[in-house]
Symmetry: C3
Subunit: 140 residues, 3 copies
């Protein structure tokens, strides 16, 4: 069995934004030498997501408005008890639960076995500081 | 290490519906010969889900109403910017994020290690055309 | 390839609550002897979740209020058709979809490869009876 791990560092200068990371994951799969296996890609921070969807800017702006409606930013410790800790990012912990922490993608014949429109994104909900993404590959 | 991949083609004649696919996944596990491992089942399209829940029709109708309330169908490009592309399925990209892209199920002693009520479903949110599901199994 | 499975039994005396299970998962990883691999942790019941987020009580109370707003408890079979079966837990099947069924965590150098604030939780949405969590580890 082979295994391979890569850490990406994300620097998003907005509070909320999405970054296309499929090319980074493809590089990691190629470097791993794995022909058949599984590739886990996860945010290592709890106010961020890794998800798979469309690389289309209109959809991304829709997602932002939708997530803001489902879990609005509000630094008040009355609205979110989490913000009693001195943080102002409780909303980001909620948005991340909607979009998910991780994806697991099959590797077949040495490549990510993605559908025609599947692209991998990092979702940032409390940006303006460096955060990490883990790519872990196992297989043969 | 063994690996095995199966693609299912789903043909759902409604815009939104759920299809029980546990038997297909069980067949793939048996055909793989894997006794101990992991089984990934994912939608290969970004307006569809694979999820695990109850095989109960009342619950499925509840899910449909709930998802419609959280992310209503609306072809207008004002409501969803994604629909400026000429698509009318922005809602489906949102519903899929709630229900998820994939499940990972353990294989123990050659069988899916599911709880008593766990059943695997394909969730279609923009049907009326063929779409694919990937079953990828690795283990020994 | 090594594999290892552990079942936890959860006894939550409230309808909805979160239980920190990172130490249990760490024990399973150590007992597995796996140095490089993947660790799946999933609820085996369809009214419960396993998720990764912050071990902070204010956030957990925020999550409970938020999930209650998104999918309110209501035993009425008019509100939720699932409750026509005689169950009163349709809301729990919805809450679980928001929080997810499972997490997959990388194992690197014999340890869970978690970010600094990542902690693994069991999310109960229809408690007051024993339920199981599966930890499945594969790797080398």
């Amino acid at each position: 069995m082979r295994s391979h791990a890569v850490h990406l560092t994300m620097n998003v200068d907005k509070r909320m934004d999405f970054v296309h990371i499929t090319p980074d994951v493809e590089d990691a799969v190629r470097d791993s030498g794995v022909q058949e296996g599984l590739c886990l890609v996860n945010a290592m921070h709890i106010t961020a997501s890794v998800f798979i969807n469309d690389n289309e800017s209109g959809l991304h702006s829709d997602y932002k408005r939708w997530l803001e409606a489902l879990a609005p930013f509000d630094p008040s410790p009355e609205t979110y008890h989490h913000n009693r800790t001195g943080e102002d990012n409780a909303d980001a912990h909620h948005k991340r639960q909607i979009m998910g922490r991780e994806v697991v993608v099959a590797i077949t014949s040495g490549k990510l076995d993605l559908g025609p429109w599947e692209r991998i994104f990092y979702g940032e909900f409390d940006g303006r500081r460096p955060k990490r993404v883990l790519i872990k590959i196992i297989g043969e």
